[in-house]
Structures are given as structure tokens and as C-alpha cells.
């Protein structure tokens, strides 16, 4: 995207240039759908085979943090859409503000994810040699609700009775958890980088009603990342919650 919205050599008109950029991003998003799709397929096959393990593992995720993060991310989609609108109607300052808000909300999301990952580490739920579903119920951490923990211990014991290999199958769940949310987080980090670039350009006043394609195109990417999370949240956090 040229800085001042000038026509690039290979194009005949500005309209053609704009159309091309948008179509390019949409086609790229198709590749992202299939990229994440491979992991969703792996998830589907493994969940159907190991329902018990997946259910009990899903319950170890903090639903408040998960739902909260979902709200944060959807809100960031709203601010991103508003940033595009602001640029389209020529409200340059407002566009910058909305872009900063989007970046801020994205950062909050990543921060919460970091907290969740740390929790998993403390509870010995990272796939590998020290993975142990029984660790957390047997070793309360500061801040744990002991009643809740006791309930969890009973659920875990019940699950082991149904599926003695939960420590193996649970690792599959958590491999998917870290793999999918990790890949998603990586995409968010890239998105944050793109937003920083947009904010810089927006502060320089480069986005006008005639030229706001970069904002639109980054917006498409950001909304896509939001959509991935819209599916990840129920699939990872909300299995067998009613038990």
C-alpha cells in the first residue's frame, strides 16, 4: 500500500487497486481457514474417541477467564470495525483512538492467556513427562477453593475409572489446547504488529475517505482471528460443564 494512496505501476485505476487488495486478503484468509481447519479436524477425531478425557480436561480451564477473553476479543472486533468507519468518514483522530483501543484489548487478551498458561504449568497439565491429571487435586495452590478442589478430585477419580488412560488422552487434549490457542495467539501477535503499523500511519494522518484500504484489510484479518476464537472457546472450554 503506497503511503499517499498513489497508484501502483501495475494498476490502471485506484478502484482496481483497492479491489485487488481486498480480494488478496480474502483469498489469504481462505488459506487460514484450512490451516486452522487441520487442527479442528484433529480435535474432532480425538474428541470423538476420548470424550471422557476431553470433558474432564475442559473442566480444568477457568471459564471466567475464557468467557471474559471472549468478550474482550469481540469488543476489539467492534473497535476495529469502528476504526474502519472512522477512516471512511474522515474522522482521523477517532480512527487512531479506535486502533489503539483494538491493540489494547488484544494485549489484554494475550495477557490473560499468559496467566492461563502459567496456571496450567503450575497444575502439571503441560503435555510431557510431568503431566498428571491427579496433581492439582492432590496439591492445593494458594487461592484455591478447597471445596471446589475436592469436587474436582472426585470428578477426576470417576473419570479414571471410566478411562484408565486419562493421563495419556488428557495429554492429547492439552496438546490441542496449547497448539490451537498457541497458534491463535501467534496470529494475534502478528495482528498486534499490523495494528502498530496502522497506528503509526494513522497518526501521520495517512488514512482518508479516499484511501483507507490498509485499515480495511487489517480489519479483515483481525475479524478472522476473532472468528477462530469464537469456535475455540466453546470447543475447548465448554465440554461437559454440566457434570
Amino acid at each position: 500500500m503506497h503511503r499517499t494512496g498513489e497508484l501502483y505501476g501495475q494498476f490502471e485505476t485506484l478502484e482496481q487497486q483497492k479491489e485487488t487488495a481486498a480480494l488478496g486478503m480474502w483469498v489469504f484468509l481462505v488459506t487460514e481457514v484450512l490451516f486452522f481447519g487441520g487442527m479442528f479436524l484433529t480435535y474432532t477425531i480425538n474428541r470423538r474417541a476420548f470424550g471422557t478425557a476431553f470433558g474432564i480436561c475442559s473442566n480444568t480451564l477457568d471459564i471466567k477467564l475464557g468467557a471474559g477473553n471472549t468478550v474482550v476479543l469481540i469488543l476489539s472486533s467492534l473497535t476495529m470495525a469502528m476504526a474502519v468507519w472512522s477512516a471512511q468518514v474522515g474522522k482521523k483522530k477517532l480512527a487512531s483512538i479506535f486502533l489503539i483501543a483494538t491493540l489494547g484489548l488484544g494485549t489484554v487478551f494475550l495477557g490473560v492467556k499468559a496467566i492461563e498458561y502459567k496456571q496450567k504449568f503450575d497444575h502439571h497439565l503441560i503435555p510431557g513427562r510431568s503431566f498428571d491429571m491427579k496433581y492439582h487435586p492432590a496439591h492445593p495452590m494458594p487461592g484455591d477453593d478447597l471445596e471446589e478442589l475436592d469436587k474436582e478430585k472426585q470428578e477426576v477419580d470417576k473419570a479414571f475409572a471410566v478411562d484408565p488412560d486419562i493421563n495419556a488422552h488428557g495429554q492429547l487434549y492439552f496438546s490441542l489446547y496449547f497448539g490451537m490457542t498457541g497458534l491463535h495467539a501467534l496470529h494475534m501477535i502478528i495482528g498486534a504488529g499490523l495494528l502498530l503499523w496502522l497506528i503509526k500511519a494513522s497518526f501521520a494522518g495517512r488514512f482518508t475517505p479516499q484511501y483507507n484500504t490498509p485499515v480495511e484489510v487489517v480489519g479483515l484479518y483481525w475479524h478472522f482471528v476473532d472468528i477462530v476464537w469464537i469456535y475455540l472457546f466453546p470447543l475447548l472450554y465448554l465440554i461437559d460443564r454440566h457434570r
Binding site: 505501476g9 501495475q10 494498476f11 490502471e12 482496481q16 479491489e19 485487488t20 480480494l23 488478496g24 483469498v27 489469504f28 481462505v30 488459506t31 487460514e32 481457514v33 484450512l34 490451516f35 486452522f36 481447519g37 487441520g38 487442527m39 479436524l41 484433529t42 477425531i45 480425538n46 474417541a49 476420548f50 503435555p127 510431557g128 488412560d165 495419556a168 488422552h169 495429554q171 492429547l172 496438546s175 497448539g179
Partner: protein, 546 residues
């Protein structure tokens, strides 16, 4: 050629390595894919020499595994998949649609650099322990047990995937938004239709192999367990994910070659192609149906018999659009004015060899038969007939056809025809015996074989040496022609595409004035500008009988 063209517009290595001109980028690709062709060919040579004797004294069994693996990886990912799209597609698509360049010239250059980086990782893998998993990376060998350099290889192929994706993205967007005025969809050359279909596959399929190899790498590094039965994982899941891309990938390799043939045949039959819209539609059909057949690679590895039935049926369906093309090319020849220029020899070779390769694919798609010939040399012969007899002949034929446009020079015709025949003879001598070997039961990927198979193996190796000569000759005389070849005019054949209405070699901007298209494709009758002699045989109407 006193005037400025894309080759002499600027000099110096920076003007090549930092170019955004699609024509120069195509030449960068030409150099790189040729290097990988040599590397893959080197491994093939060692395999064929080793197989001269039943007990094989050239290399150890472990090394043999590495040879066929690295041959496959180098040839498929770093030669066949890029070849025609990245060399001919990049060069020709803007010219054929009347555009100044592709939609995203900088992404085009980036695509080549990504390929080079991926290639470096893979070459590093080859040099530091090699790869012995087969190009198919089946788990748990690749994810757990192999002691070869799997991780750098999967990283390299993963990175290379983005090169494919960017090329496909560029082509799709370009064909949608950059066509010159009057260049409607149904006036596009069939080469462009073929590349559109190919790009669809690149976009939809490549991300899946990317995530699959990523998972293999992660499993290898962090012992995750998706494909490890000890943790409850399933190796067949890997195979589903792998083949979801790798089957359509073979259509990435053949569709562009079919596009080349669709350009060559009308030109050297001097007739419009028969059934234009059917050929265009069949390209899209192959791209779509090609995604529905992947598990025919898994008939005997553990998928359920009901899945096998489904995929066998769908595999028969995918042959139909390919057959449509073969019938239409043949019908184009009827009452045409055939000339036996080198590209036409390659096109004829393509049709015959692709026919054999394609039909033997149907043999393999038959469940009962596959039980006997799966993982034998029958499969090896089948895919080499398509990949080499089809795709590579299409690539070399296309290079010859457009060489005058790319370089402004003609290659030596007599020598070129000789090389084409040599290639055809060498190819058949190499691979036809392998059909017989496979049918008789010789397994693939084995470093030894029962002594009664030796005669056929020796024939195959002898053929390979002739095949090598068939490849070497063009490399030599094409290079020679760049300096010493006869100067080609704008349209030496003559052919009807838009690319032939600009100079050879073209100026950097492709056209001095943006063309406006008012004629139908392959319309030899209504193109006085081609300078065809009056009294040419009667030509069918422009679109054929579609």
C-alpha cells in the same frame, strides 16, 4: 534487438535479486527449479545404478531409504510443484491477459525468496543425516522413530508451502482483477484457466500440509502424541491430513502442463481448440473433484472398508474431466494442418504418456486390484508416467514453445526434435518395465529384489541413461541459443495469444499500449495479423462445438 526489453532494461545483480518484474522473477525461478531438478535427478541416478543388481552393492539399505526419500522431496516440492506455474505462469499470465504485471509484484518476489529459504532448510537436512521416511513422512516413523534429519526437512517444506500459497494467491487475484478491456473469462487462453484451477488447489490444499508437517515437527520435538498409538493417537489421522493436500498436489503438477498442451495443439494444428468451454470447465472440475479422492492412497493402510468404497468411487469420477481433455485435444487435430515442430512432439508425447498414466491410475483405484499392486513398482510407474511423461514433458514442451518469447531467440530445431524423441524413448524404456515389475510383485522402496527381476531392472536403468541425455540436450542447446540462436520475431509460430502481439523479448511494461481484446481465442480464421497464407485448409468456427 536494438530497443529496450526486460532483459536489457537494467543491469547488475541487484536489478535481478530485487526485481519486481514478473518476467525476471520467472527466470530466477527457472534457475532454481533446474538446480533442484539436478539434485533430484542425482538421487534417481544413484537409485537406478543401485538397482542394476538384485542384492545392490552401491549403497547400504539405510542410505537407499534416504535416496528415494530425498529424490521424492526434491522433485515434488522443489521442482514439480513450482515448475510450470512459477516459470511459465509467472512469465506469461500478465502477458496473456494484457496486464503490466501480476497483482502483487512484491509478493511474487517474496514467493521466490521463501522458496529459496525453504530449499536451504531441506538441503541442510539432506546434508546432515538425510531423510529416510519416504516423501510421504508416514508416522510414527517420521514423528518418533526415524533417526534422520526430519525436523529441518519439515520446516523447509512448511516454509516452501507459503511460496506456493503466495503464487496461487497472486494468480487468482490477478486473473480476477487485472484482465485488459475485452478480455472476458471465455476469451482467456486455456493456459490461464489451467493456472486458475491450479491456484485454487494451492490455496485450499497447501495450508493443510503446512499444519500437518507442523504437527509432525511438534510431535517430534515435544512428544505430543496425535499420531502415536501409545498415547492414544492414530497414524491414520496423519495419513488423512497428509493426503488431503498431497493428492490435490498431483493436480497442481499436471493441470499447468495440460494448460501448456492446450496452447500448443491449436497452434501446430492451426485450428481452434475443440470444445473450449469444456476444457476450461474440466480444469475447474479436476481441481474440485481432486479434493474428494485422497484416501485412495490408504486403501490397505487401515481405513475402514466403507471409506475405501467411497473414495474408490470418487476416484473414478475424477478421471472423467481428464478424459474430456484428451478427447478434445485429439478432436482438435482432426482436419488440422499439423506441423511437427518440437513443442508439438512434446504435446503428442504428453497425450500418449498421460493416457497410460491416467488409465493405470484407474487400475489402482480399483479396490481389489489395489490390494495386489499397492506399494509395488506398478504405482511407481503410474505416477512417473504422469509426472514425467506428462508434467515434465509439458514443462519442457512449454519452455520450447515460449522460448522465442522469453529470450527473443530460436533454438536449433533439428537438434531439439532429436532430443524430444530421445526423451520419449528413454522415458518409456525406463518406466514401462516398471509396470511389469510391479504387476509381478516387486515392492517399491526396497533396496533388493528377487533375481528373476533383474532383466527388467537393467532395462529400466538403461532407459534412465537415455532419459538423462534427453534432458541434458535441451539444457545445453537452450543455453547456447540465448547467445547464438536465430533472432525470433514477434510471433514465429504463429500463435494467437496476446503474448505474441508484443515484442520478443517483451518490454518491461509488457505492452506499449494496453491492448483491447475483440477477438475469440485460437481464432486462426479471423486473425489477418498472423500473416497466415491464403488457401489454408478450412477452419472450424472459433469456439469449436461447445
Amino acid at each position: 534487438m536494438p530497443h529496450e526489453d526486460y532483459l536489457n532494461a537494467r543491469y547488475g545483480i541487484r536489478s535481478w535479486l530485487l526485481t519486481t518484474d514478473h518476467k525476471r522473477i520467472a527466470l530466477l525461478w527457472l534457475g532454481s527449479v533446474t538446480v533442484f531438478f539436478f539434485i533430484g535427478g542425482l538421487f534417481a541416478t544413484m537409485i537406478r545404478i543401485h538397482l542394476l543388481t538384485p542384492t545392490g552393492y552401491l549403497v547400504t539399505p539405510e542410505t537407499y531409504n534416504k535416496l528415494f526419500t530425498m529424490h521424492g522431496v526434491a522433485m515434488i516440492f522443489f521442482f514439480l510443484i513450482p515448475s510450470i506455474p512459477a516459470v511459465l505462469g509467472n512469465f506469461l499470465i500478465p502477458l496473456m491477459i494484457g496486464a503490466k504485471d501480476l497483482a502483487f509484484p512484491k509478493l511474487n518476489l517474496l514467493s521466490w525468496y521463501i522458496y529459496m529459504i525453504g530449499g536451504c532448510f531441506v538441503l541442510y537436512s539432506f546434508a546432515t543425516g538425510g531423510l529416510d521416511t519416504g516423501w510421504t513422512f508416514y508416522t510414527p516413523l517420521s514423528s518418533i522413530y526415524s533417526n534422520s534429519a526430519v525436523t529441518p526437512a519439515v520446516i523447509g517444506i512448511f516454509i516452501n508451502g507459503f511460496s506456493s500459497i503466495l503464487t496461487g494467491l497472486n494468480f487468482i487475484v490477478t486473473i480476477h482483477t487485472m484482465r485488459a478491456p475485452g478480455m472476458t473469462w471465455f476469451r482467456l487462453p486455456l493456459f490461464v484457466w489451467a493456472h486458475y484451477a491450479t491456484s485454487m488447489i494451492m490455496i485450499l490444499g497447501t495450508p493443510v500440509i503446512a499444519i500437518t508437517l507442523l504437527l509432525v515437527g511438534l510431535e517430534r520435538m515435544f512428544h505430543l502424541g496425535f499420531f502415536n498409538p501409545a498415547l492414544g493417537g492414530d497414524p491414520i489421522l496423519f495419513q488423512h491430513l497428509f493426503w488431503f493436500y498431497s493428492h490435490p498436489a498431483v493436480y497442481i503438477m499436471i493441470l499447468p502442463a495440460m494448460g501448456v498442451i492446450s496452447e500448443i495443439i491449436p497452434t501446430f494444428a492451426r485450428k481452434p481448440i475443440f470444445g473450449y468451454s469444456f476444457i476450461a470447465g474440466s480444469s475447474i472440475a479436476i481441481a474440485v473433484i481432486g479434493f474428494l479422492v485422497w484416501a485412495h492412497h490408504m486403501f490397505v493402510t487401515g481405513e475402514s472398508v466403507y471409506a475405501a468404497l467411497t473414495f474408490s468411487f470418487l476416484s473414478y469420477l475424477v478421471a472423467i474431466p481428464s478424459a474430456v481433455k484428451v478427447f478434445n485435444w485429439t478432436s482438435t487435430l482432426y482436419k488440422g494442418s499439423i506441423s511437427w515442430d518440437t513443442p508439438m512432439i512434446y504435446a503428442f508425447g504428453f497425450i500418449g504418456l498421460f493416457l497410460i498414466g491416467g488409465l493405470t491410475g484407474l487400475f489402482l483405484a480399483c479396490l481389489g486390484l489395489d490390494i495386489h499392486i499397492h506399494d509395488t513398482y506398478f504405482v511407481v510407474a503410474h505416477f512417473h508416467y504422469i509426472m514425467v511423461g506428462g508434467a515434465v514433458m509439458g514443462y519442457v514442451g512449454g519452455l520450447h514453445f515460449w522460448w522465442p518469447k522469453i529470450t527473443g531467440r530460436l533454438y536449433p530445431e533439428a537438434l531439439a526434435r532429436t532430443a524430444a524423441i530421445t526423451l520419449f524413448v528413454g522415458f518409456n524404456l525406463t518406466f514401462f518395465p516398471q509396470f511389469i515389475l510391479g504387476y509381478l510383485g516387486m515392492p517399491r522402496r526396497y533396496h533388493t529384489y528377487p533375481p528373476e527381476f533383474q532383466v527388467l531392472n537393467v532395462l529400466s536403468t538403461a532407459g534412465a541413461s537415455i532419459l538423462a541425455l534427453g534432458y541434458l540436450l535441451p539444457m545445453l542447446y537452450l543455453t547456447w541459443s540465448m547467445r547464438y540462436g536465430k533472432v525470433a520475431g514477434q510471433n514465429p509460430w504463429p500463435a494467437t495469444g496476446l503474448e505474441w502481439k508484443t515484442d520478443s523479448p517483451p518490454p518491461t511494461e509488457n505492452f506499449d499500449v494496453t491492448p483491447e481484446v475483440t477477438w475469440e481465442p485460437y481464432d486462426f480464421k479471423n486473425r489477418p495479423d498472423l500473416g497466415l497464407a491464403a488457401g489454408a485448409p478450412s477452419l472450424a468456427p472459433a469456439h469449436g462445438d461447445d
